[in-house]
Amino acid sequence: MAVWALVQDGFWAGVAAVGFAMLFSVPRRDLPGAFLTGAVGHSARALLLQWGVSLEGATLVGAAVVGVLGNVLAQRLHKPTFVFTVPGVIPMVPGVFAFQTMMGILRVTTAAAGEGSGVLVDAGINAIHTALLLGALALGISIPRLLFRHPRPVV
């Protein structure tokens, strides 16, 4: 059952990755690669979450999986890595945390007396999750480049 749940998780994450890849005008023949990175990365994260890893830790590993897989695909198919890695991590983007942060900030203004501080603290917690999760995604997909491709700077 747990395996079936992971397969479903991967499938829907792959669908989301392909949808956003098309929004980003990723070339048609690279869409299967975007499906694969999105599916494998998100189900890796779901597996770690099942094992009790924190959301940020699991996201870092999931993004690293996307990064490694995206680099392998890019080298095999002679493509730039970003067509696989950026759509691949889109299903893990903390979108709900991001707009809940902003909704919290807006709701501070209309909160009843004495309740504003709770609303503000919730917004702060959401903001911290948003920033750390985005950092984990960027770091994760950059790991192959940081470790294996660091030529002398030319610029």
């Binding site: 479903q8 998780d9 829907w12 994450a13 669908v15 989301a16 990755a17 392909v18 949808g19 956003f20 890849a21 098309m22 929004l23 980003f24 005008s25 990723v26 070339p27 048609r28 690279d30 998100h42 493509k79 730039p80 970003f82 067509v83 950026v86 991590v89 889109i90 299903p91 983007v93 979108g95 709900v96 991001a98 707009f99 809940q100 942060t101 902003m102 909704m103 900030i105 807006l106 709701r107 985005l134 950092g135 995604l137 960027a138 770091l139 997909i141 950059s142 030319v154 610029v155």
Partner: protein, 266 residues
């Protein structure tokens, strides 16, 4: 640039007129990359690769959030030019083509006329997908995300409808050149009105998931990830600017959604 620094024999100095072409072409490539959301590091590396491939000794490039400054040097001569860059949507087809072109310049020894023809072709490339296909696929993507949050099929369908309709609204507003934050808020409002119907009529088990998922098409995921990558690679100015732009877009989403929820009473 001396021989010891490049490890290659010195290149013949380019005539001043040719240097003008090289700076124009390199700037054009850099402009298209930045316009369509490439990382700052990639813009710098690609422009450098292209310019040196076309015969310059060295290029100094400064990428700012809304423009590029470039100096090309060859022998004793140099030229400097600024190009203003207006941000547009992410287009990875264009970015991938320019990336491939910068490799071909050295691999196939393209000259500046061939590069100009190629850049003109890339600049004129139509969007790879029909707009209605994008409407459907973006709706499906948001509905897929609602499944990941644990939504049932009723909410899946509602999210698909709300976000596909919102994507259509966004396309219609975008092509009339409204302010991007206004487009985002209006699109979030449209998504919010439609996605509050499940809550209003108690469809499905967790109707509030439709509200959360249907605005995800607006979340500036790619710019925010690029912002974090820029910061990681030491490009603090472009990273902060992209991060702030992404935060403001998130604020616009929240404004539109809150207004819709208030009007619908959910």
């Amino acid at each position: 640039m001396t021989e010891t620094q490049t490890g290659q024999p010195p290149k013949p100095a380019l005539p001043y007129a040719e240097l003008r072409d090289v700076i124009d072409l390199s700037l054009w490539a850099g402009q298209m990359l930045l316009q369509h959301g490439a990382r700052t590091q990639r813009v710098e590396e690609t422009v450098h690769h292209l310019g040196t491939g076309l015969g310059c000794d060295w290029l100094d490039i400064l990428v700012s959030p809304n423009g590029i400054v470039l100096t090309t040097s060859s022998g004793q001569e140099f030229r400097t030019k600024i190009r203003r860059v207006k941000r547009m949507g992410v287009n990875m087809s264009v970015a991938a083509e320019i990336n491939a072109l910068s490799r071909r310049v050295t691999a196939e020894a393209l000259d500046r006329h061939q590069v100009r023809a190629e850049l003109a072709r890339i600049d004129q490339m139509p969007l790879p997908y029909n707009r209605w296909l994008v409407v459907g696929m973006v709706g499906l993507a948001c509905a897929a995300l609602s499944r990941l949050f644990g939504a049932d099929w009723a909410i899946f369908g509602a999210t698909f409808g709300a976000s596909a309709a919102a994507m259509w609204v966004r396309q219609e507003l975008d092509r009339r050149f409204f302010n991007p934050f206004l487009v985002t808020a209006a699109t979030a409002f449209a998504a919010g009105i439609l996605a509050s119907l499940p809550t209003l009529f108690s469809w499905g088990a967790q109707p509030q998931l439709a509200l959360a998922a249907s605005v995800l098409l607006l979340v500036p995921g790619a710019p925010l990830i690029t912002a974090a990558q820029d910061l990681l690679e030491g490009h603090l100015v472009t990273g902060l600017a992209r991060g702030l732009a992404g935060s403001l877009v998130s604020l616009a989403i929240a404004l539109g959604l809150l207004l819709a929820m208030w009007l619908m009473g959910v």
